[in-house]
């Protein structure tokens, strides 16, 4: 088991050395990058916005219901929603969801190209297939994931406010004042740093499992599952490490 982990880590590092080289043709890299931003980012906006709004609403409602002490002001609902969403929910939970959505897409796309010899075709032409296929996905994820996470923060806080308005558990004034209490820009910076790490993990780990696929359709499915599971585990581990490093 340990040997397998070490072997996989070695293979991953070797692949990354091939990935992080100068693209052979700038124009083609640019086209690929735009396609990946569309495929990995723009197409994820809907699911990110939907989940964020509802999770923000749930956090706000649960906080409001749990405030049964009259000495605790209702502004705490806004404050708690803001802190939960920015510190943890948007960067970590949304990254885990993206690991599922985007990670499986990357692994299955590259894995299918492997088993149908499309990667061999690239190699025969003299193209660095690892760089051509994975590098634009990594750059696209690093560019678009922070945008998605900021959108998620907005939607989460908005969802919380809509829930308060709809349920009358807290007034708009209380909620908005809560959001503004003791706001530090650093927590957004912390969330963005985490997001960048997670984006790198999702795109490279999924790219690795896709690229290393051998066999047929069954193996593509297995690679896709492994990519999501391993990315999620590494995200959870790095979440702890980064939180320790950045918030203490």
């Amino acid at each position: 088991m340990n040997l397998k982990v070490i072997s996989h880590t070695g293979d991953y590092v070797l692949l990354m050395l091939k990935v992080f080289t100068r693209p052979q043709k700038g124009k083609i890299f640019w086209q690929r990058l735009m396609d990946e931003i569309q495929g990995l980012g723009i197409e994820s906006i809907g699911i990110v916005a939907f989940i964020s709004a509802f999770m923000g609403a749930v956090v706000a409602i649960q906080t409001a219901y749990n405030i049964d002490n009259p000495f605790i002001p209702l502004t705490m609902v806004g404050w708690t929603t803001r802190q939960s969403v920015i510190l943890e929910f948007s960067p970590t939970i949304i990254s885990l969801i993206l690991a599922g959505k985007v990670g499986s897409r990357i692994a299955s796309e590259i894995g299918t190209m492997r088993v149908t010899e499309q990667i061999d075709a690239l190699e025969i032409m003299g193209v660095n297939s690892a760089n051509y296929l994975i590098f634009p996905k990594v750059v696209a994820s690093l560019l678009i994931n922070p945008v998605l996470i900021i959108l998620s923060m907005w939607m989460g806080i908005l969802g919380g406010w809509l829930a308060m308005v709809a349920s009358s558990l807290a007034s708009t004034t209380d909620y908005v004042n809560g959001i503004r209490i003791d706001f530090q820009v650093y927590i957004v910076f912390y969330a963005i740093v985490k997001t960048l790490f997670f984006a790198f993990i999702i795109s490279t780990v999924s790219g690795f499992y896709g690229y290393e696929t051998r066999g047929g359709a069954l193996e593509v499915g297995q690679a896709s599952t492994k990519a999501v599971v391993v990315s999620s585990i590494i995200i959870i581990l790095f979440n702890l490490i980064l939180t320790q490093l950045l918030l203490t």
Binding site: Q24, K25, K27, I28, D35, T112, M113, T116, E117, Q118, D120, A121, E123, I124, M125, G126, V127
Partner: protein, 248 residues
């Protein structure tokens, strides 16, 4: 001309290619035949560098391919075209984009020049008005022809075809064989075809190499293959009901 000298390949303990020494001539269709699992695909992948040989050398017109570095191989590969078993067309590109890809990647041609070249090679393989179709919209024979068009778009000096007739009906297979033969003569290139289709052997086999259990078992051509006394080759050639009846 391509020469393999004393080529050996292992997968773990399995000795797949055993001391293969063979030359493939320019302007001729050189066929490698053998049963499934005999090592012919491995030999072809060694010749193009998709697998590294464990022992032995490969020469492209006296250029030692085995000793070339990455850049030298990249440069040589622009002289190589390859037709894969399933075509290996890029799923996310149209026919035109597939054929244009090597030109976009490795030449400084203008868009008009590239389009003219694409139309020329598509016409050469008897395909017209398919530029904007996606690979999934093509029949098996059309996919093969587009793959041939992509393989010859850079005017290669060496053409490799891995099982060009697999999955095709006899008539379409004949069309593909004829096309490969015509292109070989017309462009005076070195063509190597991997096949176990006896129709191909008898119609285009200028030279034939029979691989048996990883060894070069017999060498000849389409005229001598039916009159050999080699037991294993006879079993291969007359292994089907049709060919054994014809022999009788």
């Amino acid at each position: 001309m391509i020469e393999a000298k004393d080529v050996n390949k292992y997968f773990g303990d399995h000795h797949v290619l055993k001391n293969i020494t063979c030359s493939f001539e320019k302007g001729k269709t050189n066929l490698i035949i053998g049963q499934s699992g005999s090592g012919k695909t491995v030999l072809m992948k060694c010749l193009v560098g998709l697998y590294e040989v464990d022992k032995g050398t490969i020469f492209y017109n006296d250029r030692n391919f085995s000793q070339m570095n990455f850049e030298q191989r990249k440069s040589l590969r622009q002289e190589i075209g390859m037709l894969f078993q399933g075509g290996a067309l890029f799923d996310y590109m149209s026919v035109e984009e597939n054929v244009m890809f090597p030109l976009s990647m490795f030449t400084r041609q203008t868009n008009d020049e590239k389009k003219a070249r694409v139309n020329f090679v598509l016409e050469r393989v008897n395909l017209e008005n398919v530029n904007h179709l996606m690979p999934s919209e093509l029949s098996g024979g059309m996919r093969k022809r587009v793959a041939i068009a992509r393989a010859i778009s850079m005017q290669p000096k060496y053409l490799f075809c891995d099982e060009p007739n697999s999955g095709l009906d006899p008539q379409t297979a004949g069309v593909i064989d004829k096309l490969i033969k015509e292109i070989t003569v017309e462009y005076d290139i070195t063509t190597i075809v991997n096949t176990h289709d006896m129709n191909s052997v008898l119609s285009i086999g200028d030279t034939v190499a029979f691989i048996f259990n990883g060894e070069l078992w017999w060498r000849g051509n389409k005229d001598t293959i039916l009159h050999t006394s080699n037991k294993e080759l006879n079993e291969f050639v007359f292994g089907t009901e049709l060919t054994s009846r014809l022999k009788q």
